[in-house]
Symmetry: D2
Subunit: 329 residues, 4 copies
Amino acid sequence: MNTFGTNFRITTFGESHGPAVGAVIDGCPSGLALGTGDIQPLLDRRRPGTSALVSPRDELDRVEILSGVFEGLTTGMPIALLVRNETQEPKDYEELRTLFRPGHADFTYQQKYGCRDHRGGGRSSGRETVGRVAAGAVAIKFLAEKGIAISGVIVSVHGKTGTAAIEAEILAAKNAGDSVGGIVEITARGVPAGLGDPVFGKLDAQIAGAMMGIGAVKGVEIGDGFEVAGRFGSENNDPITKNGFASNHAGGILGGISSGQEIVVRIAVKPTPSIAKPQKTIDIHGNEAEISIKGRHDPCIVPRILPVAESMLALVLIDSWLEQAKYHR
Amino acid sequence: MNTFGTNFRITTFGESHGPAVGAVIDGCPSGLALGTGDIQPLLDRRRPGTSALVSPRDELDRVEILSGVFEGLTTGMPIALLVRNETQEPKDYEELRTLFRPGHADFTYQQKYGCRDHRGGGRSSGRETVGRVAAGAVAIKFLAEKGIAISGVIVSVHGKTGTAAIEAEILAAKNAGDSVGGIVEITARGVPAGLGDPVFGKLDAQIAGAMMGIGAVKGVEIGDGFEVAGRFGSENNDPITKNGFASNHAGGILGGISSGQEIVVRIAVKPTPSIAKPQKTIDIHGNEAEISIKGRHDPCIVPRILPVAESMLALVLIDSWLEQAKYHR
Amino acid sequence: MNTFGTNFRITTFGESHGPAVGAVIDGCPSGLALGTGDIQPLLDRRRPGTSALVSPRDELDRVEILSGVFEGLTTGMPIALLVRNETQEPKDYEELRTLFRPGHADFTYQQKYGCRDHRGGGRSSGRETVGRVAAGAVAIKFLAEKGIAISGVIVSVHGKTGTAAIEAEILAAKNAGDSVGGIVEITARGVPAGLGDPVFGKLDAQIAGAMMGIGAVKGVEIGDGFEVAGRFGSENNDPITKNGFASNHAGGILGGISSGQEIVVRIAVKPTPSIAKPQKTIDIHGNEAEISIKGRHDPCIVPRILPVAESMLALVLIDSWLEQAKYHR
Amino acid sequence: MNTFGTNFRITTFGESHGPAVGAVIDGCPSGLALGTGDIQPLLDRRRPGTSALVSPRDELDRVEILSGVFEGLTTGMPIALLVRNETQEPKDYEELRTLFRPGHADFTYQQKYGCRDHRGGGRSSGRETVGRVAAGAVAIKFLAEKGIAISGVIVSVHGKTGTAAIEAEILAAKNAGDSVGGIVEITARGVPAGLGDPVFGKLDAQIAGAMMGIGAVKGVEIGDGFEVAGRFGSENNDPITKNGFASNHAGGILGGISSGQEIVVRIAVKPTPSIAKPQKTIDIHGNEAEISIKGRHDPCIVPRILPVAESMLALVLIDSWLEQAKYHR
């Protein structure tokens, strides 16, 4: 459950307020030039403490490569990536030992495991994505060498578009002790035709699973997504010409296999459930209580989810790329 | 790629116009009463030829149980389910040997495999879902004995709601040589809290992958889905009371783990790409051509996708149910 | 548990006295010429009824290809292979409904599943290997096109070597209402250097698992096997010269990865547990009883295990071959 | 390839002379009391530098738990275990940058990956087993709470039995610049009947794969192993009485499923390939050369392989135990 991928497999570990977070990559081909300098920039994009729009938790998130790289090149052996947690403040979370935060995994983890690490959400914290992003950076580097580029943009936050409007909306929510959601679009260019598998291993199925596996994501669309439900087939089919497809309603995937067009994915991100405003909840004994969440939280996770979503798309694509390679020796 | 699930694993096989389609279930617990009578009704719900709204291909889809059941009970051994194809009319498809149908997998399969079974889409045909539904029926029976019930409804077709309006819309499209898409909602009641896993194995991630792995699905929502992007956290969080959650915006899943509430999933279904209206395309040599698709097609796949989507949700839930069981001996 | 392989995956199904046995292959590359004529000869080598040395059960074991082959070539889609059971005689086995046969899986299946198909061992019967051999034949054909040849020989039966001595030993055991074991050696020639993975995915680890997964096998050796325990390192290391290795004590595998030398595997096969001689046992209620096993049994399974062991080695090698291919595009 | 297990999955990482070695455990049930004190003793049993019989490399092998344990109990989250390498002396290995050591993985890794970490064998070093043993210690603790005990003994070294004779044999080999092999037996007591799966997932198949996946192992036997090849069925079958089985030739496994008897496994361990005596080899350019291996090596790996083999058996058994649990809720 903490492993993703079939060919390029990552296993992540670590809790928000434990000693460290990280990932082990298994299946990375040998011969890829790799150093911490390839990984740190993507980690820096997701790290908190960088502006008023995000959590003030000031983690430097310095990554260490523990294995799998020798004299600057990957060896084909597992690549262990480690990031120490430096600014744990578990005292901030003592109240959460017994209270379930609405919209969080507190209640369900307690039901499933009979216990939980209440400090900042433990494993269910967004801090878990450090491992994904560190591993994703390796995938992104590999893909870049194959001509595949991945990028993400914020489509909207709380219904607003445009950088200034979005920033204002986030700050307003923050000042109100509240939070806001949004929509993000991720695209991949340069993906060759033929990636993905029929039936259950469809490329879009893998992408949907990868994206919905990011905390806070509640919806996934490929290409035109829900809009296609209101269309005629004659409107929605992408005509094929000798110069390629005449449109891209399909978002670059047909029958679960990449068509060579740009792959387009959109995800719906819910407002951060940690808010200062008082909320109704219960404690682990079933008693009703009111909770006002303290600690260092993001009023909107949308900006920081971008490198995570890009990483997940990269992990799906490198996995499919390697899968396809074995049939085309 | 043709196997789904970790604990209750199904492997499907078969092409639209080959000798047979079917599935092998591995990991079904022993002692479940099972006969063809438990499977046939769900197959009948997805089979074509039943009304003017669906494809006239008249397959009886009689299922045979080849293994894994002894004296009326499952034995824990693999359950092989076979359905013979009876009304192949490959001559209908001779034109497709060289032409790529827009919106179909023809182009991408050819790119991936260097060849393809052009007869009715071969493996990319919706006929592949016979195996899913046959296996899904077994999962549905098992879950029912645990108090879990799954059902699906059509939310809208081409923007219309209401049975009469939907039927009129489908027939109008059919008469125009066109097709229409729609939205389907699947719910599961009686799911205990605690199913699903953290991180990559989140229950919603599994559901999203399962649903997007159904041909024609272009979007997946859990709970309120894309609507949450426009909300405040204080609106979107489901308050917890001693009588349970006060609302269900989350769709029954928190942190990737079932909360005990109803699980709610919506999917966007694209209009069937097979339409009689002429479309621009190319042949396998790259020459431009016009195509008008003959054969026995559905003007709207939405009604027949219901049992498929219910099956996929059942397959995810039985898998999670068994996964959870091992930690609660 | 009924699936073998990571890249070339086979799932087998069927019981000794159920309607059919078979296998589904997933992951076979497209473009391989394949017909029943490629599969039937290997099935014929394992089938019973061919001489006084083996079981008189006279199954023709005709294989049907249900999917995955189109116009004589594999398409990359799952290949379902079906063999109907034709000569079930379940009445022969009525006594076994309540008695546990010593040396058989009857007792352990009952313990594990709370039930079992007692007819000829059900799934634990050697008849299950029909699916392995049918799938193995496809692997053998693929490997042959890559220059890899697999063959097996009987090393000894009940301590005897030489065809005539072995046949006499088997017939003597049969006439005494008893059975005998033996040793089989399987070799693969033409395997390129580089197949197999470090650590848990070592080629010899995969082979050992594959061989010990054949019923009746109780020991596996690679290269010189147990003999190496009595050697000095200076005797056991294979010196390397510019013309290749000077010896092959290692059996073609170093550090879990093929060296390009011949791969050599030996397996110990126990005497068939089904014997006419009376044996002490208990029934399902715990009462002691004496059992004298009727039905159509092999006095020595060694001759019929050869095509099964060859198939298992082929399945390991094709899987490793495809795994390796993905890193050498 | 660096992951073992289906339910209790371990992923190991690290090279002999890299910064660290370790493992991530995924799927350990919550609520197990766990601290470094449960892991360190087994690591101490495998560590070098403890006597004249083993390598003088003096690693303390202090384990750190990075995640998955909260307030002394496992949480169900991945448990990352880290051991820093402290006494790397890569200069000892400079010669090996270009020379292939006979009997080692140097040649095959170079063939497979086109590169290799030559320092002490890199990933192919026995140092990789630190991760297995650290994870194995967790499995052993869990199993002990279920009444399952695992232990190993040296059967023979270079044909000698008895502690004094074995020690003399090892020291004699060491003084001669040579090495010796041996045989080890591992047993598990208290294993309930019903663990393991039919067909490919047989308990003995899993054990054989696990054992042959330990470097230096060239043969695996279950129960009486190769001896059964020379027996009659009437000798080899274990009669069943109302007090249990009357013998245990089968080694506690019937039809791939545990019978409740003691599980008995024997492995053949080859003499350490690293010897001071001069050997013929080639360099990476194909030129012939003589090699006399320096560095800190074990003249016999048999004593240190014991905790590794015990760990691997524990990992198989915990995996089967959890697998079985899910069908007996």
